[in-house]
Amino acid sequence: MRTTLTCFASAICLSMLAGCGGHTLYEWRGYENKLYDHYKNPAQQQEFTEAMKEVVLGAEAEGRVPPGIYAEYGFLLFEQGNSAAAIQYYKKEAARWPESEMLMEKMIAVAEKRFKKPVAPGQPAVSVPPAKPAAAAPQEVSR
């Protein structure tokens, strides 16, 4: 009984924390936990990429993909050397969120450069050997 009540109380507090609503705007699929796991075990890149794939596919199936998620997954694919697939996800991010367009254009340019020959639209993801993550777009930040 006590446990049930505590659970109930917890649920109320949590739903209030989520914003006086209870349901969320986006389908997160444990993104926070997966990111935390990644920072806890940074060597497990492959596992993190798989975990993020689940986030993307799950959110897409619900039609509620959170901002940044396509790009986050795309960047992991890029880091693992799969530039072609990375570009596809960067394009999805840019198409869904106009706020990301500028950054995605940069990211696509970096990925295309490494991929050497440009990718035809709709071409399936091609695996290339893992390469050192490129020193990507930002140049210099000064005071």
Binding site: L17, C20, L25, Y36, P67, P133, V141
Partner: protein, 221 residues
């Protein structure tokens, strides 16, 4: 049983009052700047726990995005900055917001600083504390348009239901239970507290809360 009902009504009452309460003056600058997108940069860590910064970063995206903002992918941003020689977050925090935001095309930048992330062990109890300050600066003007602070404390006392302290004590004890996870001396789990701090600080409704972003389903407050 009765005490639980009392607690529940208190929680609900607090929640409702939180929803209704607004202090426009604190939100004026933010509303004037009206950012659509927020860049969350790596966290500055004033605690002695070196793992805290990344853990805290992982808790920032969800509350911001749920309030209707475009939030740049935090891990991508962190890795890009690192590749660019900006792996020192205090360097990032002291850089020009305008220039930083321009690299990513962001309207505003959120700077998080961990103030507390520690465990204190007494004879019969362990107290975990997580505290952080939040500052949003506008890309156009380089100035602070919103700031907030939050802290969460968890006290474990060997499993017994802590008595005494009247209603306030009861309330505190149960709120702690709501975010509780196993706290052991070996590896205390700070994440429930870190997430609570993040949600509290970035909550849209209480007086110093953040106004809603363009994708929020409700009208701007």
């Amino acid at each position: 049983m009765r005490r639980f009902s009392l607690f529940l009504s208190l929680v609900v009452a607090l929640g409702l009052s939180a929803c209704a309460h607004q202090e426009p003056s604190r939100q004026e600058k933010f509303l004037a700047a009206a950012p659509r997108s927020i860049l969350v940069v790596p966290v500055v860590n004033k605690s002695i726990d070196v793992t805290a910064a990344d853990y805290m970063l992982s808790a920032a995206s969800v509350p911001l995005a749920e309030h209707g903002f475009y939030v740049f992918p935090v891990n991508l941003v962190k890795r890009m900055l690192e590749d660019d020689g900006l792996s020192d977050s205090s360097l990032v925090h002291s850089s020009s917001t305008t220039k930083l935001a321009a690299l990513f095309g962001a309207d505003a930048v959120l700077y998080i600083t961990i103030e507390r992330w520690d465990a204190k062990y007494a004879v019969t109890s362990t107290t975990l504390t997580v505290g952080a300050s939040y500052e949003i600066r506008d890309a156009k003007t380089n100035s602070v348009i919103w700031e907030n602070k939050a802290q969460a404390v968890h006290q474990s006392n060997g499993g017994g239901g802590g008595g005494g302290g009247g209603v306030a004590g009861l309330l505190a004890g149960l709120v702690v239970k709501a975010v509780s996870a196993a706290v052991t001396k070996a590896a205390p789990d700070y994440m429930p507290l870190a997430r609570q701090v993040s949600y509290q600080a970035l909550h849209p409704y209480p007086g110093n809360g953040i106004p809603s972003g363009p994708y929020a389903p409700v009208a701007k407050n």
